[in-house]
Subunit: 231 residues, 2 copies
DNA sequence: AATTAAATTTAGACAAAACTAAAAATAGAT
DNA sequence: ATCTATTTTTAGTTTTGTCTAAATTTAATT
C-alpha cells in the first residue's frame, strides 16, 4: 500500500472495529470525560480485556480517547464527535427500516449495526432528508444532528408515574428483541396514550388505560417503558 | 470463537473480500465455466497474482470455484449463484440511490460497492419491492432476480447502427465516472430517443438526432453507448 | 527438443484484530 | 501497612488478507 494511505489509515480513516469501540465507550458514559474500565468495555462487547487494551492504545494514538494505563479510557472531543456520527447513522437507518421498509422495531438493530458503517456523508444526509429529519428513532432514542447535538426527551419510567397521571409512550429502556416482541404482541407502541389507574402494592403491577383500553402490566414491563407526561 | 462458528465461517459465511473476488471472476466471464487467469483477476482488482492464488484455494475449499494450479479459476454453480446475489444487491442499491435519493449516475458505484455487502435477505427484498422490482440499473445493466435469472437486453452499440435507424438509449458500456459525467453534461440520458443521421468516414463520428435535437458525437462516445433498436 | 520469456505458485513476512497465559498493578480487607 | 483478590497489561500466538522475492511451471521461439 502507498505511504500516503498508510498515513491516512493510521490517523484518519476509521475501521469498523474502531467505530464499534467508540460507540460502546460512548454508551457506557465515556463521553462525559468519565473513565470507563477495560473490563466494562470487554463485557459489553463480548470480547477480552486484553483486546480492549490493545484498541485503547490505538485509539489514543489517533486522539480519539484519553487512555492512562490501569485507569480506563474516556472519549476526547474528537472521539465524542465520531461516536455521535455513528450513533446518528445507526438511528437514522433504524427509522428508514421501519418507516420505508416496514421492518418491525425488533428487527432493525442487527441490520442497522451493519449499515451504520457505510462511509458516505451524502448518503446519510439524503436518508435524513428522505425521512424528513426525524428527531427520534423507533425505540424513542434521540437522533444526533449533523453537528452532533441532540436532546434527550423529558421522559419518565411508567413505573415512576403517579396514579391518575397521563402521558404518551415515547420510548423503551430495554430494547432487546424479546421485550420489543412482547410489546408488539400486546399492542403497545410508541405514541400510545397512557393513564395510570391503579398500583398494586403487593407486586407493584399497574392497571393502566392504553389508548382507552384498560390493561394490567407487571412492574418488569412498567420499569422499561418511558412515558412523556402531559403537562 | 466457538467451534461451530469456525465451521460456519469456513464453509458458509462469506467475507467481503471473498464476495469481491467472486464478483470480479463473474464479470471476467468465469460464470460460463471459462477459466480466468490469476493475472487477469489481479489486474482487475488492483492486487497481486500471489494474493489471487491464495484466495483461489480458499474459494475452491468452499466449493465456489474450480481451481486447477496454473490453469486459472472458473465459478461453480454455487459460485455463480453467490456472485449473482451480490450483483443483484449492487444494482438494486444503485437504483435506490438514483431513484430515491437523487444521486447522479456517476456517484452510485462507490457507495453501492459498500452496500452490496450488507447481509440481510429481508433488507434487499424490501428494497426491491420499494423500487417496484426494477429490471435494469441506472447504467442499463440487468438486475438478476432473487433466483438468479436475468436477461441481457437486446441492444446494439450506437456506433454499429445503420444510417436512419432509430432507437432508445438503454445503457453504457463504459461506466466510468468521467464518461458518465460527460453524458450528463451533454444531456444524454437513458430513455432518450436516438436517430442516426449521418456517419463521417474520416473519423467515424456521427451526426444524430437526440430527443429531436441534432448533435454530433465522436466514435469514442458512440462505441460506449448502447441503443435498443426500434423494430 | 532446447531455450527463454512470461505467468503462476510457494515461502516467508506483515498488519489488524482477536486470543491465552503469565506478569504487573490496583484496591479492599484485615 | 501488608496481604490477597481482582483488574489490567504484556508477551506471544492465531487468522485473514495482503505483500515481496524466489522458485516453478507453462508457453513461445528458434
Amino acid at each position: 500500500m502507498l505511504n500516503k494511505n498508510v498515513f491516512l489509515k493510521k490517523y484518519f480513516l476509521m475501521t469498523r472495529s474502531e467505530e464499534n469501540y467508540l460507540k460502546t465507550i460512548f454508551h457506557l458514559g465515556g463521553g462525559d470525560s468519565k473513565s470507563i474500565t477495560t473490563n466494562a468495555i470487554a463485557e459489553q462487547m463480548e470480547t477480552k480485556p486484553s483486546s480492549v487494551t490493545d484498541m485503547a492504545k490505538k485509539l489514543a494514538e489517533k486522539g480519539l480517547v484519553n487512555y492512562v494505563k490501569y485507569q480506563g479510557v474516556s472519549l476526547t472531543n474528537s472521539g465524542v464527535k465520531t461516536a455521535l456520527s455513528i450513533i446518528r447513522k445507526h438511528r437514522l437507518w433504524e427509522v428508514f427500516l421501519v418507516e420505508k421498509l416496514d421492518f418491525s422495531w425488533d428487527e432493525v438493530h442487527e441490520v442497522a449495526e451493519q449499515l451504520e458503517h457505510i462511509k458516505s456523508e451524502k448518503l446519510i444526509d439524503k436518508i435524513d432528508e428522505l425521512l424528513n429529519f426525524p428527531k427520534y428513532d423507533p425505540h424513542g432514542d434521540p437522533i444526533p444532528t449533523k453537528d452532533g447535538k441532540f436532546q434527550e426527551r423529558d421522559k419518565k419510567l411508567l413505573s415512576e408515574m403517579a396514579i391518575n397521571a397521563t402521558g404518551v409512550c415515547v420510548g423503551v429502556k430495554d430494547s432487546s428483541v424479546p421485550f420489543l416482541k412482547f410489546l408488539d404482541k400486546n399492542k403497545i407502541a410508541l405514541g400510545n396514550s397512557i393513564k395510570v389507574l391503579d398500583k398494586e402494592d403487593f407486586d407493584n403491577s399497574l392497571r393502566i388505560q392504553l389508548e382507552g383500553k384498560e390493561i394490567r402490566i407487571s412492574h418488569q414491563i412498567a420499569s422499561n417503558l418511558y412515558v412523556k407526561k402531559n403537562d
